[in-house]
Amino acid sequence: MSTYSALPDGDLVRACRAGDADAWNELVERFSRYVYAIAVRGFRLSEEDAEDVFQDVFTRIYLRLDTLRDDSAVRPWIAQLTRRRCLDALSSKGREMSADEDTLMAEESADLTDVEEAFAVREALGGLSDNCQDILDRFFAQDQSYRTIAAELEIPSGTIASRIARCLARLKEQLEGRNQGSERSRG
């Protein structure tokens, strides 16, 4: 893990502006999956087109980072850049968006919301203890049964459901804190 991985977005952006190469590496690492997910899941671009969007978005980030007014709002800024580039990619492919345009846009919007939520949850998970991250990952991502979790973590099977419930409560607190923070930074 790099020394930059714990930096808040705003501090990371400031380090990038100062020309720190390691900070740039961390910025790409931090947002690469986000950009790719918007292109592939939100706009259903092919892998090839998504790769083009990816390259172009990060080139633009590099060239235009000085134009970002609120450093802590780098994520929505990157999302906006990515959406624009995805729409350009679709237009250049001449994708038909006539009769089903509204439906298509609504579906893409819903998918983008899913992507945003998934990344918000991923970030919030990072604020939980390792034990909580592990047990939530096992139950919700790996679909492990209570018995398997109990056996692998060597904890009583009857306590798994309550442990997961308590970890979910902490995750909710993290998400609420994050939302309040982003509202403050916007206001």
């Binding site: 018995r147 459901a161 309550s162 419930a165």
Partner: protein, 154 residues
């Protein structure tokens, strides 16, 4: 439902989220089970229509039957999870809904037993198969919880 209605129970939202996740898994597994069993049926009919032993055909049939046992195996395990979740609910939910949680455990035990039976049938008579042992353990775990929650002293 029990968790959603128990507004004073601190863990209720987390238990409700787990119940939703298990429910989603059960629906997906039921669909997988249907497809796997359809494929196994076709293989069974091919085997019945064929004349004499045929190693390739018999191997294909065995693979299909094993695939048909995979989803019930997971369903049996989910039944044990539902029963465990119901037990957590009975211990902490609002008193009005304890009977509903207990009923959920009984239903889960029934589902787990039915699924374990399908595992046994689809795998044939091979008592030493660890998958069968796993299914039977899930069935037993669910049944024990349901019986405990159904005791009149609770």
């Amino acid at each position: 439902m029990v968790a959603r209605c128990s507004t004073d129970w601190e863990d209720a939202p987390g238990v409700s989220a787990q119940a939703s996740a298990i429910s989603d898994r059960a629906v997906a597994l039921a669909q997988t089970d249907g497809r796997a069993w359809d494929a196994a049926l076709v293989a069974l009919r091919d085997a019945e229509a064929g004349a004499g032993p045929n190693a390739s055909r018999d191997f294909a049939l065995e693979r299909k039957l094993e695939a048909a046992a995979a989803a019930p195996l997971e369903i049996a395990s989910l039944g044990a999870d539902v029963a465990a979740l119901a037990a957590a609910a009975v211990d902490s939910c609002e008193a009005t809904y304890r009977a509903d949680a207990s009923a959920a455990a009984s239903l889960a035990a029934g589902g787990s037993a039915a699924a374990a039976h399908l595992v046994r049938v689809n795998l044939g008579i091979r008592p030493a198969d660890p998958r069968l042992a796993h299914a039977l353990a899930s069935e037993q775990a669910a049944r024990e919880v349901a019986e405990r929650l159904g005791e009149p002293t609770r």
